[in-house]
Amino acid sequence: MSIDYQQYLSTTAMGLEPSGIRKFFDLAASMEDVISLGVGEPDFTTPWNIREFAIDALRDGHTSYTANAGLLELREEISKYLQRRFQVEYQPEDQVIVTVGASQSLDLAFRTILNPGDEVLIIEPAFVSYTALVTMAGGVPIRVETSAENGFKVTPEQLEEVITDKTKAILLCSPNNPTGTSLNKDELTAIAAVVEKHDLLVVSDEIYAELTYDQEFTSFASIPGMYERTILINGFSKGFAMTGWRLGFIAAPQELISIMIKIYQFTTMCAPTMLQMGAIEALRNSSEQVEKMRQHYWRRRNFIVQSLNEIGLECHTPGGAFYVFPSIKKSGLTSEEFAQGLLEEEKVAVVPGNAFGASGEGYIRCSYATSIEQIEIAMNRIGRYMESLVRSKNTAMEKVK
């Protein structure tokens, strides 16, 4: 008997748009010798002392559950870390939860604050999961499109335009994936005024905080008046090169955390114990290695921004993360056509900008989480690809003449 599974599926789940990256991944994965600038994670392996600590934890038999919010010892380290690095104070006992990746922190935040129909402003281009996470929690994602003209920074005016009485929160991500854009203290303060005026919350995804290059990173929670309105999300993936560990954390006012912890206890129980032990070591003894990785990214960023501009792919200098977001409008192609052609002809993988929202059309995301040698080869290939595009455009024009 054949079953019509459609009838069983949830309309919310069915309605989710598949990630624009997926299609591209399948194509790139089927090819050999690809240089990938399409990777959203560090090229460094987790520092050895952190790995060793987790191995020891496993050997010593740390295999049972921890408290729902995570090991108190780890939460204490997180609390000290947030204070030391970003000057924000959270009580380890009742203001911090260790989650399975920062993505789960986001999920937890939205499930905790959204009622059906509540609107969340999402600044695009944005990380692929944001709209889906809001939708799954019953909310309505409202896209706010930024543009290259002001370095993909959102302005208070743009926010004012879309705020309604249903708006509950703004989701901020600085430094940003995919644009690398960082918002400085003044820019955050301007946004804070809007938040205050409309009595909103801010979910602040600060996962790239450690990877800030030109000025000190400012946590949204440190802006005067915003601590009470901020759900701060961070984790170990990017700065500490621990993506595969799936460890993130959420810090917020106690009144919000106490509700989150209920959801967390029913869905997840706790993050893996032995990995939490590794994270303790990460926060205690790896600042030198984190700094060393940051230096590498900084040098690569400088290199790739100049190379792309020399090739003619106009590109602003992003203040953080490990992405650049150059314009490919000069090629006359769409983002997807450009990326596909580049992959097929020169075996360089990048992610088409429209995967991160409509305002990403005309751009590509290049990750510089790869060695400078590889970046150099990739830039040569992209240069050659651009030349061939210009050449074929010229011959086409001559034919028309």
């Binding site: 990256i21 991944f25 690809v34 399409g38 959203g40 994670e41 040098r299 290199f303």
Partner: protein
């Protein structure tokens, strides 16, 4: 001597790969090629950059395998010149690839490279041990090089295990 941040950054890049072009260094550090060339020249003159050796794994090449021995040498220091004179006599031999003055139970650590164990044994008995003021030698033959000057010779540590595209 104190160096600027830019000079330290140049050293960090060259320390990893000395064949990086001045143009690439300039782009990485947001400066001009001219400035990079000038600073490198200065660092060379100051003997902060001493040389640019290439790390070659000779043992992967047939017929080019080398044997390395580290030899602990005890020496009677001499009045006025200490260990320097003996050291000089030792490091002049081309077979000696490195020489360090050590604290502890012996004085000089000598690294010798040769084509065979016999080569090295002959060098130690005929040359090294006969130098005046050398009291004793203890030879240790190196069996395998795992890591040299911060570089892992073979291994999986640097293998890229990431998916080719990810969000």
């Amino acid at each position: 001597m104190k160096l600027t941040n830019q000079e330290l950054n140049i050293l960090a890049i060259l320390d990893e790969n000395h064949s990086v072009s001045p143009k690439s260094i300039a782009m990485q550090l947001e400066t001009t090629e001219e400035n990079v060339n000038k600073l490198i020249k200065k660092l060379e003159e100051e003997k902060i950059i001493v040389s640019y050796p290439t790390l070659i794994n000779w043992n992967k090449i047939e017929g080019k395998e080398t044997i390395v021995a580290m030899i602990d040498v005890k020496v009677t220091p001499q009045r006025g010149v200490g260990f320097n004179e003996v050291a000089e006599q030792i490091y002049r031999y081309p077979e000696v690839s490195s020489l360090y003055l050590m604290s502890g139970t012996y004085d000089l650590s000598v690294t010798i490279e040769g084509k065979s164990m016999k080569d090295i044994a002959l060098f130690v008995s005929n040359k090294l041990a006969t130098i005046e003021n050398v009291v004793s030698t203890t030879s240790h033959f190196m069996l395998k090089k795992y890591k040299h000057d911060g570089v892992i010779m073979e291994g999986n540590e640097d293998k890229d295990r990431r998916m080719v595209v990810s969000p």
